[in-house]
Amino acid sequence: MSLTYNREMLEEAREAYDRWNREVEETFEKHPERLKRFSTVSDMEIQRIYTPADVQDQDFNRDIGAPGQYPFTRGVQPTMYRGRLWTMRMFAGLGSAGDTNTRFHHLVKAGQTGLSTAFDMPTLMGYDTDSPRARGECGKCGVAIDTVRDMEDLFEGLPINRITTSMTINPPAPVIWGMYIAMAELRGIDRRKLGGTIQNDMLKEFIAQKTFMCPPKPSLRLITDTVEFGTKEVPRWNTISISGYHIREAGSTAVQELAFTLGDGIAYVEAALNRGLDVDDFAPRLSFFFNSHLDFFEETAKFRAARRMWARIMEERFHAKNQRSLWLRFHTQTAGCSLTAQQPYNNIVRTALQALAAVMGGTQSLHTNSLDEVLAIPTEEAATIALRTQQIIAEECGAANSIDPLGGSYMVEALTDRLEDEAFEIINKIDDMGGMLSAIEKNFPQQEIADAAYRYQQQIDRKEKTVVGVNKYANDEESLPVEILQIDEELERLQIERTVRIRNDRDNQKTRECLEKLEEACVEGHNVMPPIIEAAKAYATLQEMCDVFRKVFGEYRDPGIY
């Protein structure tokens, strides 16, 4: 044990700051501080100043270390952005597969280095476009995928053997991933060469994002199937992106985002271990996804704390040996919920600051929201400004010159420690409840987040928290108009026609047999991925495959608590 600051130095610092504190107290007695209480966006109280005394228990080697060294507080790779910048990965999906393909080509041409797909609501929920539940929703907030034919159009002409693809898909993740693998194989690309990510994180769906299909237990089983299949057959694929993003968007605090996300991660690791997998075979392919919210220092500290916590969890709790199993690699998206419809050009600035916090925190990839994302799917121009924001951070402002540049800041280190301590307290509580699955069944995370969200809204209404352009500095005259992307109402009809045609033209006998094999795998407990890939190649639709899951495993209904 060797503390970062020696006792003598701490004593001197304490004396100096005591003197300083007495002086400012006198001043503040005459002219009070600007606020009664200074706090982060998560309502964590912030001190007047941070000093070595706030990190006096810090042991440099145990708690900080060097980039690429345990506990990875300063970054997972030794070289970080000095070697290679983060992947600039803009989330895109709109209208038809062809429309989205055009957007992908535009983004790649503009210098984007990875693809990221947004699906429409019916696809996210496992319904075909012609389902009665899908009326009015086709292509509205992403791209519609009904069959492997749509998947082929979506990636037409894109080098998927070289560029990685992220797909934000949850309940139907095994099916969408199976269609992607089928599409690649139809193009003659070996599945072992495919790199990318499926979100495939159902626990946070029950907690926050709320797209669900089957109940929690069978959902976890399907996820474990994909982990097992990926480990053996698609070794470059990240089979789960354990996500805090949606937890935060649902209104959680930064501490809750950390605790519930890593708590979900623990549940996935336990499920894979119960399947008989070796921790070091699958853990290196687990990836994470966080939000970068408004409070710059809290967010930077959160990313650093997350890395250190996961390394400790993987080593101390799961005894992983492979260094890569200890790495918390993560994607970041700036906070959609922080954007305002009022004075929308201010959103460019908010996003830039949030993106900078993600870079200070050492993110592996980043999506920056577009200024108009609060109103509709971004226009091409708005998405380009958001991408340029990343490029300015990366190549103009010097933020990527040195690794973990805020490491050693008394404030950032103290916040990192505090976020870790408070998040571990919640994780212990979840353990006491019997793990994340049973915590979710008791609505524990859902209720905690709803409480935090309500508190925050009340603080905004009472003007205790400022939202520029909304509860302060509001403009009564309408500000600059923003062009809004409209989705053609014709799209739904065309997509339905196309899917119906595919159902009529395919070899229906063969499709039926494939679906029966999928059902058998579900019932018998065999891995569902091989029969899904075969069914996709036989043009089974998304919903036909998901209906098999619904039939065998049942459907989950929202408990509707508030």
């Binding site: 609501m121 019916p122 996210l124 929920m125 319904y127 009665p132 539940r133 899908a134 009326r135 009015g136 929703e137 509205k140 907030c141 769906e205 994002q209 709320k210 797209t211 968007e249 649902a250 209104g251 919920c337 305002t340 419809a341 009022q342 609060v374 109103l375 509709a376 799917i377 709803a450 969200a453 309500y454 809204q457 009340q458 905004i460 209404d461 939202v467 909304v470 509860n471 809004i484 989705i487 209904r557 929202d558 408990p559 509707g560 608590i561 508030y562």
Partner: protein, 136 residues
Amino acid sequence: MERNRRIRVMVAKPGLDGHDRGARIIARAFRDAGFEVVYSGLHQTPEEIVHAAIQEDVDMIGLSSLAGAHLYLFPAVVDSLKENDAGDIQVIGGGIIPEEDIPKLKAAGIREIFTPGSTLEDIVEWVRGNVNPKTS
């Protein structure tokens, strides 16, 4: 004897959109304002919402949508209410709704639209001023 009861409202999420942060906050604000609140939960069809609203005998339905399908889903709720002789139940909406869609929704019978930036107090006051509880 006729006696005014409390305002009874249903907060509902039509369609497949899962964004329920706003809807649940509004439900709590209505409850704290002294209204009786029914929350539909997620993933309801317009018909399911109308059926539940009639069953629960509410005075108003507040719809929330953040996934772009409001131009289809909100009017579908109003139409279904009329078809079921429940046109006296008022409908308001909120969520990510572009300015230019608001006149279309009002023309379709949605009484008011609250977009981001509306305070809880604004919404509660509107309901107090515009929704009369049925007498019982």
